[in-house]
């Protein structure tokens, strides 16, 4: 009998091409977008190499595209050039492309799972740090840089130093009114923004098992915000039900064969992790970030902390700078912070369940007159589904702008830039300085919390609204 292995070890072992340190691993699925790929294709073309497996590669446009007026074309000449380069590269190398006019276009990490391309046990890479999202299916999925994108295009493999393993054990059940976003913000607040560095996290425990696939994606998506190489959740019935029938999922006898393999993708009893972190889910409440990294987060019932609450002098300095950038004073109740913008979307929280959660809060209410609020569905399929359910009418009659799919204000590479000095409640993943626009002040929250802030004009504890 072989030694007990973790989920990560099983997936890693099945992809080893050259067993050395670093290890050469085979890539099952390479996702490509317009921002981190042009230099990779240029390098490939310059050396006269071909894409080894165009049939394991798929591209879409998401980072730099507008979310309104697409029929008018792309106005930003640099973004247009970047998108045209991807179109041309995909034509030249015969890569499947979900372009701007394709009903499957969307954020790359929303599209992969939605199309059934993301499956348990796969090794998935993309020139984007939020590739960790796909780990929700029990895939090993991580972000890579442009030189590595070129390497994967040319060889379908990647060299990786073997990461260490970390278990995040989430004990108990999530309380009513507490979202997956609150759980991952709580985890990052506990482990810190570098707590997962050089590790692959496996999220475990009852609270994780109880999550839907979309909620699991929210969790794994932000693994990189804790510094982790990847985040994974073992596949179970929830995973298998989600995949079944999707366009690129296996069918017939191939489906049965796949499920047999997937069911073995669990951490064996007796397997050990290099590091274990325990989270008590029962104590979690909705979270709001106050600072400029995703660990600078507090419960909505709390207040902006004092820099003196940090022991480490470097973290204290960071808190001082964060307060200055965010124009906040220590001791201010989170509930007293007024917002100018609300952004609902991103690969973290732009899926149909996210829009449903927000619409439930918004229904029958109006966006505060001082707030500019937008909904950017994660994909055009999510948009179509939301429209079929009438969610767009709920949002629009409340005063939200209803957009086409893309990354949008999560990183503000497109025209959806938050103006300097203005404050945004955002369902995205990073509250870094300048992330949503130079001088813009980001507060990370769940979709329901963002929706409630849009209506109230300031943060509210959404549990009080949902109870009524």
């Amino acid at each position: 009998m072989s030694a007990p292995r973790t989920l990560f070890e099983k997936v890693w072992d099945s992809h080893v091409v050259i067993d050395s340190d670093p290890t050469l691993l085979y890539v099952d699925l390479h996702l490509v977008h317009e921002v981190t790929s042009p230099q990779a294709f240029a390098g490939l073309n310059a050396s006269g190499r071909k894409v080894r497996r165009p049939d394991l590669t798929v591209a879409t446009v998401d980072h730099g595209i507008p979310t309104t007026g697409r029929s008018l074309g792309i106005r930003d000449p640099l973004s247009k050039k970047q998108i045209d380069a991807l179109l041309q590269n995909c034509r030249d190398h015969e890569i499947t492309m979900f372009g701007l006019d394709d009903p499957r276009q969307g954020i790359v990490h929303v599209v992969g799972p939605e199309q059934g391309l993301t499956q348990p046990g796969l090794l998935v890479v993309c020139g984007d740090s939020h590739t960790s999202t796909h780990g929700a299916f029990g895939a090993l999925a991580f972000g890579i840089g442009t030189t590595e994108v070129e390497h994967v295009l040319a060889t379908q493999t990647i060299w990786q130093a073997r990461p260490q393993t970390m278990a995040v054990e989430v004990e108990g059940a999530l309380p009513w009114g507490v979202a997956a976003k609150d759980l991952i913000l709580g985890i990052i607040a506990q482990i810190g923004v570098s707590g997962g560095t050089r590790h692959v996290i496996e999220y475990r425990g009852q609270a994780i098992h109880d999550l839907t696939m979309e909620q699991r994606m929210t969790i794994c998506n932000m693994s990189i915000e804790g510094g982790a190489r990847a985040g994974m959740i073992a596949p179970d019935d929830t995973t298998i039900r989600y995949i079944e029938g999707r366009p690129f999922a296996p069918k017939g006898a191939r489906w049965d064969e796949a499920v047999t393999v997937w069911e073995r993708l669990v951490t064996d009893s007796g397997a050990s992790f290099d590091k274990v972190e325990v989270i008590d889910a029962t104590r979690l409440v909705p979270h709001v970030s106050w600072g400029v990294n995703p660990a600078q987060t507090v419960p909505v019932t709390g207040e902006v902390p004092s820099p003196d609450s940090y022991q480490d002098p470097m973290q204290r300095d960071a808190a001082v700078r964060a307060l200055e950038y965010m124009a906040l004073r220590p001791g201010t109740p989170i509930l007293d912070i007024a917002v100018d913008h609300v952004f609902l979307g991103s690969c973290t929280n732009g899926r149909i369940e996210d829009l449903r959660a927000a619409a439930k809060v918004v229904e029958g209410r109006k966006v505060d007159s001082r707030v500019s609020a937008v909904v950017v569905p994660g994909s055009m399929q999510v948009k179509a589904q939301a429209e079929a359910e009438g969610l767009h009418e709920v949002f629009q009659s409340a005063g939200f702008s209803w957009r086409d799919a893309g990354c949008s204000s999560c990183l503000a590479m497109n025209p959806d830039v938050i103006p300097s000095g203005e404050r945004c409640a955002s369902t995205s993943n990073r509250n870094y300085e300048g992330r949503q626009g130079r001088g813009a002040r980001t507060h990370l929250v769940s979709p329901a919390m963002a929706a409630a802030a849009a209506v109230a004009g300031h943060f509210v504890d959404v549990r009080e609204w949902e109870a009524t």
Binding site: D21, L29, Q82, G116, L117, T147, E148, T157, G227, A412
Partner: protein, 205 residues
């Protein structure tokens, strides 16, 4: 990639933790399809005022720092986005190396491919270098072959991934090296189960 062997030069101290790649090169400068043209936008939001003029109080704008080759920064340097534009921007500004107590995983990988030497030293040693670097003329030497950092009163060994070391020392083309394993790749490929997904449209539905 140009080989990297020994780097000797002056330093720029950046005594901050968790410097993310959005700060190193903000998103509005990621629209180029070339590998060059990023140096002038390094730390753009910190280095410029709202009207776009250089901030006199940000260290890389100090004329005495021109020509510096080594950035000495706080822990978890390069966290966040996977953009390789971050090492490109640092190199194109003039840096050949970054010394930090710890670098984020993707940034460390990316740098090893673009030829930016990322050296991890203990907190105390980095603290000592940051002190030394307050003098813009103070020099540091990093020798990759022997994996040592030397400066006034300081000599420290550092750990370094052996494969990345060979790649940097010889200026190797990573794809070329991997393709010497073409047989092993083909063998693995031939063993993959047939139910695994492909992205070919005809396979859908």
């Amino acid at each position: 990639m140009k080989p990297v062997t020994t780097i000797t030069g002056t330093m720029v101290p950046l005594d901050r933790a968790d410097v993310d790649t959005d700060q190193i090169i903000p998103q509005q400068f990621l629209k180029r399809i070339e590998r060059d043209g990023y140096g002038e936008f390094l730390f753009y939001n910190w280095a410029h005022t709202d009207d776009g003029s250089p901030s006199s109080d940000f260290i890389i704008n100090d004329p005495a720092r021109r020509g510096a080759k080594v950035l000495v920064a706080g822990p978890n340097f390069g966290c966040g986005s996977s953009r390789e534009h971050a090492p490109w921007a640092l190199q194109q500004w003039g840096f050949d190396a970054v010394i930090t107590p710890s670098a984020a995983d993707i940034f460390r990988n990316n740098s090893s491919f673009s030829g930016l030497l990322v050296v991890e030293l203990p907190h105390d040693a980095v603290g000592r270098l940051i002190e030394l670097a307050s003098d813009p003329r103070a020099e540091v030497t990093i020798d990759l072959e022997s994996q040592t950092v030397t400066a006034d009163g300081l000599e420290e060994h550092f750990e370094f991934d052996p494969t990345a070391k060979q790649r940097l020392l010889q200026g190797l083309d990573g794809v070329g090296v991997t393709l010497t394993h073409a047989d092993a790749i083909a063998a693995h490929e031939a063993d993959r189960p047939s139910w695994l997904p492909t992205t070919v449209e005809a396979s859908a539905g």
